[in-house]
Subunit: 329 residues, 2 copies
């Protein structure tokens, strides 16, 4: 059987994660890495595979079954995914929830014009969390769904605190409130405010002579980012920062508290959770599994843009339908 030939477009944390995830799947191989940097400055881990400029993708498209886009959702993917869908089968982890319909339409149009297949917003949220919301709500139509995030590093919030005057280094953890989760698990179906669901923990290395009280005040009152949450600010040394806060853990919980039976009085609780020591490596693993599915759709002659909702679980697995039924059902 020919291996699925995968191209990686963008070689940051996520791209490196995809490269490593491909190694864990025997039916795939890394075909090429594409970058916007000068290709000769990018060193990858896989021997015998070359790095090219992003602009070379169209001319190399014949040798790529699937291109995994590893850029950012703010500015890269809205442009890159539709553009590359004109020449390749593409998959991305676009995660700006509010702009998904717009992104879907752009990728779908490009795919239909060119006869390719696309798969967007693949990761864990959006992605696996979305799947769990959809499954649980279809099964328990009467109920309430909750999503809690963390404990984990929020890139957006970390960026925001690093822009505060006097902050040399900074990282922000989103932490779910255990007491709120316990109320959900009990079946209370509470209405929870942002403050009741998550707290925010900031660890900061201040510039020398910075006004610590002013930094704290600026952060905890920052609109949109922190003012609606209980936020703690802890000042630490650069050594501690490097030793303790050098990882990108994340995770979270999707919970559906549903009611069934006569008078809808029976409580049924579904909970899905992730505890990830590396957010980009896990997202990469999800992308790679879905790249397998995308390749199968392509082989079946499908076109257009898809999401995780459209993919049957069987298409993610390296196992045959017979093996899945015999061993995992």
């Amino acid at each position: 059987m020919n291996k699925i030939r995968i191209g990686i477009a963008g070689y940051g944390n996520l791209g490196r994660g995809v490269e490593l995830a491909i190694r864990q799947n025997e039916d795939m191989e890394l075909a090429a890495v594409f970058t916007r940097r000068p290709p000769e400055t990018v060193r990858i881990r896989t021997e015998g595979v070359k790095v090219y400029g992003m602009e070379e993708i169209p001319s190399m498209a014949d040798g790529l079954d699937v291109v995994i886009l590893c850029g950012g959702s703010a500015t890269d993917l809205p442009v890159q995914t539709p553009e590359l869908a004109r020449c390749c089968n593409v998959i991305d982890s676009f995660d700006t929830h509010a702009r998904i319909p717009e992104h879907f339409a752009a990728v779908d149009a490009a795919c239909r014009e060119s006869g390719h297949v696309g798969l967007i917003s693949v990761g864990w949220d959006p992605g696996l969390f979305s799947l769990n919301r959809a499954y649980a709500e279809a099964i328990l139509p009467v109920g309430k769904t909750y999503t809690f995030w963390g404990k984990g590093v929020s890139q957006g919030h970390s960026d925001a605190i690093r822009r505060v005057e006097g902050v040399k280094r900074g990282i922000q953890y989103t932490v779910p409130v255990e007491a709120a989760m316990e109320r959900v698990r009990r079946g209370d179906q509470p209405d929870l405010t942002a403050r009741q669901k998550h707290t925010r923990e900031c660890y900061i290395v201040p510039e020398e002579g910075a006004d610590l009280q002013k930094i704290t005040d600026t952060i905890v009152n920052m609109p949109n980012y922190f003012d609606e949450y209980d936020t703690t600010v802890t000042f630490i040394s650069e050594e501690e920062f490097d030793a303790v806060h050098n990882k990108m853990p994340h995770g979270g919980f999707v919970m559906r508290s549903g009611m069934t039976g006569e008078g809808e009085t029976t409580h049924q609780m579904v909970e899905y959770s992730l505890r990830l020591d590396s957010n980009p490596e896990f997202t990469a693993s999800v992308l790679v599994a879905y790249a397998r599915a995308l390749n199968r759709l392509k082989e079946r002659g499908e076109t257009g843009c898809k999401t995780v909702f459209d993919i049957a679980p069987v298409d993610l697995s390296p196992l045959s339908p017979e093996e899945l039924r015999a061993h995992l059902l």
Copy 2:
């Protein structure tokens, strides 16, 4: 839009659960209930719907989009599902894991001959737990999967203790060992014996004058059922039995402890859990959601037997693909 017309074949706890679950889904209606008992002795909850003998299903098949089989896996479903697949689109919750390939083959053959679609082993294990095993293993190919059950009533073990001499009433709960689950969550990837994963709790109302020590000894040493577990036997009054042990709770956990990254040293933990106050009502809710998917397969002209692995999440939902993308992705 026409409602999906559902027939229920078998009206025990599961069939009653299906009847109630249909009410929670506006796009469905109960068309008929079929029973092996004299139909006039069966009282259902839905006004205007009639009860028929099981043998009338073939002649009424035109008025049924999907028949949900609610019999037992030991003797009912292996016969009924293939038989009814000759005239109807069928869905069952066949749960004898070891015999799934055989059951699949029988239902598939019947479906292909008659041009119908079948969906077997729909519930939570097999069913939702199977899905979570398949998703997590596809995403994290290097790792270990664990399934823990409970706390919940095991019908098979409860039946076994009720056959012991001197036992008037009895119920058995399977209880997952919290310490073992914590080891899995920590990423230890332990090899766990049956005894290390679950304990078994029996509550028994003894016959008057029964030898309690003998009952206990017989149970805890019972081969296959209890000898490989740490089992507790508690004798209670009939009043307590009726007051406390009149429910059918169940649930459990599917966990995937996976490793990613350079040298596969990054731990990634996926956990799915159910806490069900009523096992049959929840299984019924799963069956009803999958009945919607089965009806869509039928409308697309598909035939043959399927499992949960073959069903894309979009087909379970009453929402349109656009709504799903906008609200749940």
